[in-house]
C-alpha cells in the first residue's frame, strides 16, 4: 500500500519541544499523547460508571429497599447513563481517533494541535462537576440521563452542575469533530483518495459531521431547561405556554444521531479488524461507505420512535415506524459484508478477532430487538421497560464497548510496543462475552413481562431474573477490573516486543511505522500508490 520508509531517528532535532513529566500531559499537543489521555480518561469513567451500575444492581438483587433510598437510586441510574455515554464511550472513540487517524492517513499530527489539547482538558472539569454533584444539597440530578422536563425543573443544584458539565463536554466534542474533519479532508498522504481511506477514518468522518450537527441541539435543550429552572422562562412548562413534549423532540433529535455517534466508529474498528484476521480485503468497501452514510442520514428522521407513548397522531407514528425500520437495511448490509469478508478467508482468532466476531454476533441481537422495537404497537408494550434496557446495552456494551476492546487489542502493540498476553486477552474476551449475556439477556424477559425501568423496587415475580442479572453484572464488572490489572498495565510495562506489523494480514499506513510509534511520525508524507 505504501512505499514509505522514513527515518524516525531524528526526533531529537525536531523543532517542537518535547516536555516531560506533568507538562508533557498538561501542555500536550501531540496526537498520540492526547489520544492516550482520552483513553485513560474514558477508562476511568468506564470504571466509575460501572461502580454506579453495580450499586444499582446491588439494590435490585431483591425486592424491597435494602441499601439506597429511591431518590438516591434515581441519581445512580441517571449518573450511570450520563457518565457512560458522555464520559466513557464518546471520549474513548475520540481517543482512538486521535491515535489512529493521523497514523492511518499518513499525517504528522491532527490539524489543530492546540485545540486538540483544549478539547481534552475540558473533559476533566466536566467529570469533576458530575462527581461533586453527588455532594450538593439534593444530590446529583435524578431526572434520568434524558433529563426530561418538567421533572428536571424539580431537581436541586446537582441538575445545574450536570447541565454545565454537558455543555462543556459538548463543546469538547464539537472541537474534536472539527479537528477530525479538517485532518481527514486536508492532511491525507498524497495518493490516499477518500475512497481508498481506511474504514475507521470513513466512519469517524461521518460521525464527526453528526456530532457537529447535533451537539448544539442538545446544548439548546439543556439551556432552555436551565432558563426554565432559574430565569422564569417556560419553554417546557405548559402553565406558561410551553410544552414538555417539545423537550423530548429536541432531546431525541440530538439523542438518536447520538446513538449512531457511539456505534459508527465501532463499525469502523470492526471493519479494520475482520479483513486483517481473515487475510482477505473488506468485502464491499464502497457499499460499506454508502451504508454508513445512509445510517447517518436516516438517523435524523427517526427520533420520535423514542416517544411513541407520548401520543402522536397516527401519521407521525407510522412515519417514524417506517423510517426506523428502514435503518435495518443498511445495518444489515454491514453485517452481511463482514460475514462475506470472513467467508473463504484464512482466519486466525487472536483476541482482536474474537472481540470483533463477538461484536457481530451480539450486536446483531441488539439490532434485531431494535427492529422489533421499531414496530410502534410492540414498542408501546415495551416502552420504558427492561426490554429497552436490554436492547440498548446490547448495542452499546456488546456493540461500542466490545469494538473498543477489539481496537485496543488490535492497536495496543503499536501504542505500547509490547504484545499483550494472548491467553489473558482470551480470558478477558470469554468472561466479558459470557457475563455480558448473563447480565443482559434476562432483561428481555423482564421487559416482556412488564418490569418498568428506573425502578428502585419491583414486584416479587421479577425476583429470579433480577438475581441472575445482578450476579452477571458483578462478574462482568470484575472482568473489566481484570482487563485493567492483568492486560492493560502489564502490556504498558513490558511483554514481548511488538514488530512494526504484528498482524500478518493487517493493512494500512499505521503498520509502516515502528512499534511503539515514535513521538513524531510521517514528518514527510508517505506516498500511497
Amino acid at each position: 500500500m505504501t512505499s514509505s520508509t522514513i527515518d524516525h531517528t531524528h526526533d531529537h532535532d525536531h523543532a517542537h519541544d518535547h516536555p516531560v513529566g506533568a507538562r508533557r500531559w498538561l501542555f500536550a499537543t501531540n496526537h498520540k499523547d492526547i489520544g492516550t489521555l482520552y483513553l485513560w480518561f474514558a477508562f476511568t469513567m468506564l470504571l466509575s460508571g460501572g461502580v454506579l451500575a453495580l450499586m444499582i444492581r446491588t439494590e435490585l438483587f431483591q425486592p424491597g429497599l435494602q441499601f439506597f433510598r429511591p431518590e438516591f437510586f434515581n441519581q445512580l441510574t441517571t449518573m450511570h447513563g450520563i457518565v457512560m455515554v458522555f464520559g466513557a464511550i464518546m471520549p474513548a472513540f475520540v481517543g482512538f481517533a486521535n491515535w489512529m487517524i493521523p497514523l492511518q492517513i499518513g499525517a504528522s499530527d491532527m490539524a489543530f494541535a492546540r485545540m486538540n489539547n483544549f478539547s481534552f482538558w475540558l473533559l476533566p472539569p466536566a467529570a469533576l462537576l458530575l462527581a461533586t454533584s453527588f455532594f450538593v444539597p439534593g444530590g446529583a440530578t435524578a431526572a434520568g440521563w434524558t433529563l426530561y422536563a418538567p421533572l428536571s425543573t424539580q431537581m436541586g443544584p446537582g441538575m445545574d452542575m450536570a447541565i454545565f458539565a454537558l455543555h462543556i463536554m459538548g463543546a469538547s466534542s464539537i472541537m474534536g469533530s472539527i479537528n477530525i474533519i479538517v485532518t481527514i479532508l486536508n492532511m491525507r498522504a498524497p495518493g490516499l483518495t477518500l475512497m481508498k481511506m481506511p474504514m475507521f477514518c470513513w466512519t469517524w468522518l461521518i460521525t464527526a459531521y453528526l456530532l457537529i450537527a447535533v451537539m448544539p441541539v442538545l446544548a439548546g435543550a439543556i439551556t432552555m431547561t436551565l432558563t426554565d429552572r432559574h430565569f422564569g422562562t417556560s419553554f417546557f412548562n405548559a402553565a406558561g405556554g410551553g410544552d414538555p413534549v417539545m423537550y423530548q423532540h429536541i432531546f431525541w433529535f440530538f439523542g438518536h444521531p447520538e446513538v449512531y455517534i457511539m456505534i459508527l466508529p465501532a463499525f469502523g474498528i470492526v471493519s479494520q479488524i475482520i479483513p486483517a484476521f481473515a487475510r482477505k480485503p473488506l468485502f464491499g468497501y464502497a457499499s460499506m461507505v454508502y451504508a454508513t452514510a445512509s445510517i447517518a442520514i436516516l438517523s435524523f428522521i427517526v427520533w420520535a420512535h423514542h416517544m411513541f407513548t407520548t401520543g402522536m397522531p397516527v401519521t407521525s407514528q407510522l412515519f417514524f415506524m417506517y423510517a426506523t425500520m428502514l435503518i435495518a437495511v443498511p445495518t444489515g448490509v454491514k453485517v452481511f459484508n463482514w460475514v462475506a469478508t470472513m467467508w473463504r478467508g484464512s482466519m486466525t482468532f487472536e483476541t482482536p478477532m474474537l472481540f470483533a466476531v463477538g461484536f457481530i454476533f451480539v450486536f446483531t441481537m441488539g439490532g434485531f430487538t431494535g427492529l422489533i422495537l421499531a414496530v410502534t404497537p410492540i414498542d408501546i408494550q415495551m416502552q420504558d421497560t427492561y426490554y429497552v434496557v436490554a436492547h440498548f446495552h446490547y448495542v452499546l456494551v456488546a456493540g461500542s464497548l466490545f469494538a473498543l476492546f477489539a481496537g485496543f487489542y488490535y492497536w495496543s502493540p503499536k501504542w505500547t510496543g509490547h504484545m499483550y498476553s494472548e491467553w489473558r486477552g482470551k480470558f478477558h474476551f470469554w468472561n466479558s462475552l459470557v457475563w455480558f449475556n448473563v447480565t443482559f439477556f434476562p432483561m428481555h424477559f423482564l421487559g416482556l413481562a412488564g418490569m418498568p425501568r428506573r425502578y428502585a423496587d419491583y414486584a416479587v415475580q421479577f425476583t429470579d431474573f433480577n438475581q441472575v442479572v445482578s450476579i452477571g453484572a458483578f462478574l462482568f464488572g470484575l472482568s473489566q477490573v481484570y482487563f485493567l490489572f492483568f492486560v492493560v498495565l502489564p502490556t504498558i510495562r513490558g511483554g514481548k516486543k511488538a514488530e512494526a506489523k504484528p498482524w500478518e494480514g493487517a493493512e494500512g499506513l499505521e503498520w509502516t511505522v515502528p512499534s511503539p510509534a515514535p513521538f513524531h511520525t510521517f514528518e514527510t508524507p508517505p506516498l500511497v500508490k
Binding site: 424539580q154 436541586g156 407513548t309 414496530v375
Partner: protein, 398 residues
Amino acid sequence: MTYAKRFKALMPGLALAAASIPVFAEPGPVVTGRPEALQLNLQQPVTGIAAYIYSLHNWMMVVCLIIFLAVFGVMFYSVFKHRKSLGHKPATFHESTTVEIAWTIIPFLIVIGMALPATHAVVQMKDTSNPDLTIKVTGMQWKWGYDYLKGEGEGISFLSNLATPRTQVGEPGVAPTEKRTENYLLEVDNPVVVPVGKKVRLVLTANDVIHSWTIPAFAVKQDAIPGFVRDAWFKAEQIGTYRGSCVELCGKEHAFMPIVVKVVSSEDYTAWVGGEKKRMAALADDPNKVWTIDELKTKGEKVFASNCVACHQANGQGVPGAFAPLVGSPVVLGPKAEQIAVLLNGKHSGKYPSAMPSWKQLSDSEIASVITYTRNNWTNKADENIVQPSEVLAARGK
C-alpha cells in the same frame, strides 16, 4: 381522527396482510393480570389489540430467528472451516454487485412485510371514537386520580394510592416486618372499575411531571403529560383484575404508584356505580358538624399515611435537602390559617427543589383532620391544635 378514517379506507388490504400472520397466542387459560415468575413472553392479552400485538411479536421473533440462524449459520460455518490452522487459503474476492443488491432488496421486502400488519394495529389503537365510557386519568406525584367523565358512573371520582404497606417494603437499614404478597407493589386502595366488553376511552393528563399509565394485558400505554390531554382506549374481553405500573420516571416514588383495573360484569358494574354514588354522598361533609380532636386525629392519621408519608415520612422528619420536615415546622406550629392555605394551594418556598402540591381535591374533613393530626403528633404541640372542616370550607376559594 380524520387521518385515522382515511387509513381505514386502506384497511381491506392491510387486513389481508394481517390475516397472513399465523396466530401463535394460545387461548391463555390462566390470565392473572400480573407478571408471572420466570415469564418469557408478553403478559396474556385480554383485549383484541393486545392479542394482535402478542401474535405480531411472536411472528416477528420467528422471522428474526430464521434470519439470525441463516446469517450466523454461514458465519460460524466460515469460522470453523475457513481457518488458517486448517490450511485454508484466502480467496481474493471483495465485491459482487449482484449479491450486494440482493441483500439490500430482500431485507427491504422483509421489513415491508413486517410494517404492514403493524400499520393495521397502529390505526386501530388510535381509533378512540365512540366510547361507551370515558374516564379521565390524572397522574400525580405519586398516585393516580380517576374521574368518570361520561357514560354509566359519570361523576365518580377518586384517588388511587399504593396499598402495599411500607412494612413490606422496608427501607435502607430497616428490614421489612411483613411478608410480601403476590401483589406486592401491584395493589391500590381504589382500583379503576370498568364493565367487560365495553369500549373505555381514557383521557390522560398530569398535575406535576410526566407519568405513564399502562396495563400490559390491555396493550395500553400512554404518557400523562402536565398541561396536555392525550387519549387511549381499551375493550377488555375477560372479567378479572389487571395490574400495571407507572412507566415514566416521575421522581422518587416512581416505583410506588401502581395501576389496577377491575373488569367486572355489567351487573356488577351497575352495583359498583350505585355503591360509589352512596359513598360519595356520604363523603360530602356536613359542614356544620363539629368534630372532636380524637376523631380528627384518627382520621388524619389515615389521610397522612396514604397521601403525605412518601415525602414527609412517617416520623414527620421529611428528607433533608429534598422534602420539608413537619416536626418543629413553623407552618405546622404557627397560625392554622397559613397551614390550611398551604394544603389548599400548595407552596413552593424555594428551599426545596420540589413544591408542595395543592391538595384541594381532598375533602374538607380530610384536610382538617390531617392538619389536626400534624399539629398534635410526634413532638408537635401547636397552640392552635384543632382545625374543623368548616374552617377549611371557608378558606376554599379565598
